[in-house]
């Protein structure tokens, strides 16, 4: 799990950092609870200004990818629900409600199809 910074790149260093951390989280290399390096340490390792690393961390936090637990440091957050998972949750709620109303499975699908066509 390596972070790289290319100082000659047109992409600002904070963005390079942010994009890489997100990529590591999405690939599963950084799992929930992974402790990130301190701002000062990462800034020293990558020869960046601490503010640059702090900005990347702040944007990652705003994006819901990491969380800061006071002096304990920054940690990777549990992955936010994906679109697929949210859609499945909504479909489950819909199917359960229609089952309560006594609607048949075929009619349940037909209602959705009609709604989509309209």
């Amino acid at each position: 799990m390596i972070l790289r910074i290319d100082p000659r790149s047109a992409t600002p260093p904070f963005d390079q950092l942010r994009v890489q951390v997100i990529a590591h989280i999405r690939s599963g290399a950084m799992v929930a609870g992974t402790r990130l390096p301190t701002v000062r340490r990462l800034a020293a390792d990558l020869v960046l200004a601490p503010n640059t690393v702090a900005r990347a961390y702040k944007e990652l936090e705003a994006g819901g990818f990491i969380e800061t637990r006071g002096r304990a440091g920054s940690f990777v957050k549990a992955a936010p629900d994906s679109v697929e998972q949210q859609a499945l949750g909504a479909a489950k709620t819909y199917v359960e409600r229609l089952r309560e109303l006594g609607v048949s499975p075929a009619d349940t699908v037909a209602y959705v199809t009609t709604f989509l066509q309209n």
């Binding site: 972070l3 790289r4 910074i5 290319d6 951390v21 990130l36 390096p37 390792d45």
Partner: protein
């Protein structure tokens, strides 16, 4: 005063002790001189490459060579100091009056030597400010990334066992009618060695974390892996020194307990032969452990698991 001690030492320390000390000091000087020989330097780098299981890119060669040379010179300097300190200890406690003190000297040479090597290996690390790409670990590194669990538990357990034995030694007069006085009434090698073992354990626990926390300004993943290899080697050397001293401390403590309880026996655990045997077993175990590369490659499993295997040796 030091002159008086020195002149007394010359006559009171056995010739066999001086001979072994001379050989060990000679080997320290030889090691120091050998680090200036290009062929030896190449061998040192190749050995580091084999132990770490990493290929050596051209750009990393000076860094690895400098660290290896520092480590060997640190070992020879530490070993020299260890021999001198051991001679003083042998003189003050009379360790060679009833036999050879070879293992005593050898122990001091190896333990202080390893400690010197560990300190020197990381002391001269220079931060780089290259203009190209830079790499860093994406997660916070810990001591556990460099030292396997069994070694951490082993060294802590050995030093705590040493303290427990010393505790028994100190409490002995309370529960037992002794024929010889023990610490604090009389000087105790076991207590001195236990104190040094605790100091080395602290050096590992605190110094190891300081080494881990030092910034790594590296230009490639392989360079970063090499830096981790150097750190790992230095920390594992601290572990080895604390473990050896702790093991010797346990034996000294048991020996003093045995002598205090049954002073006339002379044999068994309190004998010079048994000390020599124990010392050789401990030093042999330490040497065998240093040959095994699994601990030296632990950092690759924890920090560079996704890097895969690379050809070993200078490239």
């Amino acid at each position: 005063m030091l002159g008086d001690v020195w002149s007394n030492m010359i006559f009171h320390v056995a010739v066999s002790t001086w001979t072994v000390a001379g050989l060990l000091v000679g080997s320290c000087v030889l090691l120091w001189v050998l680090t200036h020989v290009p062929a030896v330097q190449r061998r040192l780098v190749a050995h580091a490459s084999t132990v770490a299981g990493l290929g050596l890119p051209h750009a990393s060669h000076p860094m690895v060579l400098a660290a290896q040379v520092r480590r060997v010179r640190g070992f020879s300097g530490g070993g020299f100091l260890g021999v001198i300190v051991s001679i003083f200890l042998v003189y003050f406690i009379g360790a060679d009056r009833s036999g050879s003190a070879t293992v005593f000297l050898l122990g001091g040479f190896v333990i202080v030597g390893v400690l010197g090597g560990a300190i020197a290996a990381v002391a001269g690390e220079v931060a780089r400010t290259g203009e190209g790409e830079r790499v860093a670990h994406g997660r916070r590194t810990r001591l556990a990334d460099y030292v396997p669990r069994w070694e951490r538990v082993g060294v802590r357990g050995t030093v705590f066992l040493n303290l427990a034995v010393v505790g028994v030694l100190i409490l002995l007069p309370v529960f037992w009618k002794l024929q010889l006085s023990v610490f604090p009434q009389s000087f105790s090698v076991a207590v001195v060695v236990a104190g040094l073992a605790v100091a080395l354990l602290a050096a590992f626990e605190i110094g190891g974390r300081i080494v881990v926390a030092r910034p790594q300004t590296m230009a490639s993943e392989q360079e970063l892996a090499w830096d981790d290899a150097m750190r790992s080697a230095a920390i594992l050397d601290l572990v080895a020194a604390a473990f050896l001293l702790g093991a010797f401390g346990v034996f000294f403590g048991l020996q003093e307990i045995a002598m205090a309880v049954r002073p006339g026996i002379g044999g068994g655990v309190a004998s010079v032969e048994s000390f020599n045997l124990f010392g050789l077993v401990v030093l042999g175990a330490g040497a065998a452990a240093s040959v095994l590369t699994s601990s030296r490659r632990h950092f690759r499993r924890t920090l560079h698991a996704d890097a895969g295997s690379r050809p070993v040796g200078p490239q």
